[in-house]
């Protein structure tokens, strides 16, 4: 990818945002008794629309959760805040990335939130292994794309 935009180090905003993500995970556990994994919530919601083997039946809260996710940047913008975002420009690259992320989180039963936040908080050995693997693969991928063969 040609995206080499420099971003500034934001420890306080990142810590505060991280605490909000953790609070949301705790709410989903305390109120609904579920893991707040976005890939799992997404496939649970999709099970309502297309045949998904083993999909969950309680899709209502999942749909509402995704609506809340989508509403968040809109709420921030209405409150006069900017929502900084630079998305890689290559459309085939982004489609391939999306396919890999969907396929991988379905096979691996979790993503950054399900295995990362919730699984590590449960001290799950399985989630710790998943996090170590997807972090290693992501670091290696960025290294190859930015500094390896064919990099600008």
């Amino acid at each position: 990818m040609e995206l080499h935009q420099v971003t500034s180090f934001t420890p306080l905003a990142s810590l505060g945002g991280g605490i909000l993500i953790g609070l949301s995970a705790v709410m989903v556990m305390a109120l609904l008794g579920r893991i707040a994994g976005i890939a799992g919530i997404t496939s649970g919601m999709m099970g309502r629309l297309v045949p998904m083997p083993g999909a969950a039946q309680d899709w209502g809260w999942r749909l509402a959760f995704l609506a809340g996710l989508i509403a968040a940047p809109v709420v921030l913008m209405l409150a006069g805040n900017g929502v900084p975002q630079t998305v890689p420009a290559s459309l085939p690259g982004m489609a391939a990335a999306g396919l890999l992320v969907g396929l991988g989180t379905a096979l691996g039963s979790g993503c950054t939130s399900g295995h990362g936040v919730c699984g590590l908080a449960r001290l799950s050995r399985r989630s710790a292994a998943a996090v170590a693997l997807f972090m290693a693969a992501a670091f290696a991928t960025v290294f190859v794309l930015r500094h390896g063969l064919g990099a600008a």
Partner: protein, 146 residues
């Protein structure tokens, strides 16, 4: 009530993603770029989120059941099996290419960037395909954590 709880939790999760910078692929890719303009911010996102969830889960589990449900539904599987390893590696490669994991792909949707519009439907297709492939691979079908 469960839908209201879902909406509020999703909103707070989304605000956390945007405020923390996790929703910005440029920031994610710079975090993953140890050899370039490394931006360590996302370590603070993961740290803050995991420590908060660790403490909060233990408080929540003092109650015998969730407030709006019959029981806690936790993944039963503890096996580090082939689907987990292969899936996590594929996910990491995709995350490293696009800078989006599933949550930020949803929060990016209302900004309608072309890259997001290419990523999100492909992710849904991948989730669908992966769920179908995983069935014969794994003996336990119902252990989705994320």
């Amino acid at each position: 009530m469960r839908a209201v709880a879902g909406l509020l939790s999703g909103l707070i999760f989304g605000l956390g993603l945007v405020i923390s910078g996790m929703s910005d692929p440029a920031k994610v890719l710079n975090f993953l770029d140890l050899a370039g303009h490394w931006d360590p911010s996302l370590a603070f996102v993961m740290g803050g989120a995991t420590v908060t969830a660790f403490a909060g889960y233990r408080l929540a589990w003092r109650r015998p059941a969730p407030l709006l449900g019959a029981r806690y539904d936790l993944p039963a599987s503890t096996r580090i099996d082939r689907p987990l390893v292969a899936g996590s590696l594929l996910f990491g490669i995709g995350w490293g290419i696009g800078g989006f994991c599933p949550g930020p792909a949803w929060t990016a949707l209302p900004l309608l960037d072309p890259g997001t519009l290419a990523f999100l439907p492909a992710m849904l297709l991948g989730l669908w395909l992966g769920t179908r492939i995983k069935r014969p691979l794994a003996s336990r079908p119902k252990d989705t954590t994320g």
